[in-house]
Amino acid sequence: MKKTGLIMVIVTGILLIAGTTEFPDWADPNSPASSHVSPYYILKAIDDTAVPNVVSAVLADYRGYDTMFETAVIFAAGLACFFLLRQFNRKRAKTKMYRHVPTGIIIDIDEGGKLPEENSNFERIDSQWTPYDLIIKTTCRIIIPFIQVFALYVIIHGHHSPGGGFQGGVILGATIILFAISHDLRTTIKRLSEKMASVFSSMGVFLFAATGMLCLLLGSVYLDYSALSDLLGTDPVMARSHGILIIEIGVGLSVMAVMIWLYYNLSSAGKHNEGL
């Protein structure tokens, strides 16, 4: 099986490298991309889509099909990490460690022993315990909402300024990872479970693909958002702008959830019991 995989990888690699020889030269002014595609985008993007940021218009509208599969690749990365690393119920730690907060005494409770109540003076700790740090926790608690608002701004304002779904999604995912680093993995999973992360990541891709499908059902080409004009109650040009926003949200959702999912799996080696 390994040898088959190796042969497949090598053959695909050779084919891809052989394919690059057919490409036009670097910065060739007569190549198809430079001769009519790029000038069209630069001149017509604002008239076609009412989006001032040409990058967003090209990424999410003209080349929306490409972007959809980029999102799918990110989702696949999350899935691959999950399938490779995740371990269910294997070698669970026998003892759970609790720390008495006022005195700092650490006790091990064997399997089947009586566990302390949820809001008592005991807190569950990892086997490699790092001391409670008030400064870091407080700062992260203050900073995280601001970062999240900024991330939402980056997603929503992707039409008019540099930004968009990928960037905003990464920032949004980073806030959750920051929370996990400043507190611990268990608290974070309690807030945003693995199930939520997986559902969000597939939902983002689905939102993208479903928007394209809706355009198809309304009698236009796949991912041609101008077909949505009747649904959104706007003219076709504005509908393309709104369509870009919808799929940017989908991309952001997917990227955020995959970031978190990858972090959960990588930081705890797939056990999800204790991590960084």
Partner: protein, 119 residues
């Protein structure tokens, strides 16, 4: 107004300069981070304040907004940068890294006499 902004920016640059020298010259992890923390926080505070003052010198609503945004960035750095320095130093301390002392230098000199020329 321009003179005020000039003074602020130059004093910020002095902090940046000192911090950069400190990162290269100081002997160990903790002292280097000490220099890096100064560089980020004080240097950025002063240079950015200088820029904000320069922006406000042509008084209008737009320039006030720009200055407010700059000060917001400064505030954000002012909260996060010392925390980051603290977190890194804390991690080093928990991991058991011993702070540098004069004694280390003396023992290093005795064991490797060629090193002393660099000091």
């Amino acid at each position: 107004m321009n003179i005020v902004s000039l003074i602020l920016t130059i004093s910020g640059l002095i902090f940046f300069f000192g911090g950069a020298i400190g990162i290269i010259r100081l002997p160990d992890f903790y002292t280097r981070l000490h220099a890096a923390g100064k560089l980020d926080t004080a240097g950025l505070l002063l240079t950015m304040s200088g820029l904000a003052v320069y922006t406000v010198s042509e008084l209008s609503l737009g320039s006030l907004f720009t200055a407010a945004k700059i000060m917001f960035i400064v505030m954000l750095i002012f909260i996060t940068s010392p925390t980051a320095t603290h977190a890194i130093i804390d991690a080093g301390f928990i991991a058991g890294l011993k702070p540098w002392t004069k004694q280390d230098q003396i023992t290093a000199r005795e064991s490797e006499p060629t090193d002393s020329q660099e000091e």
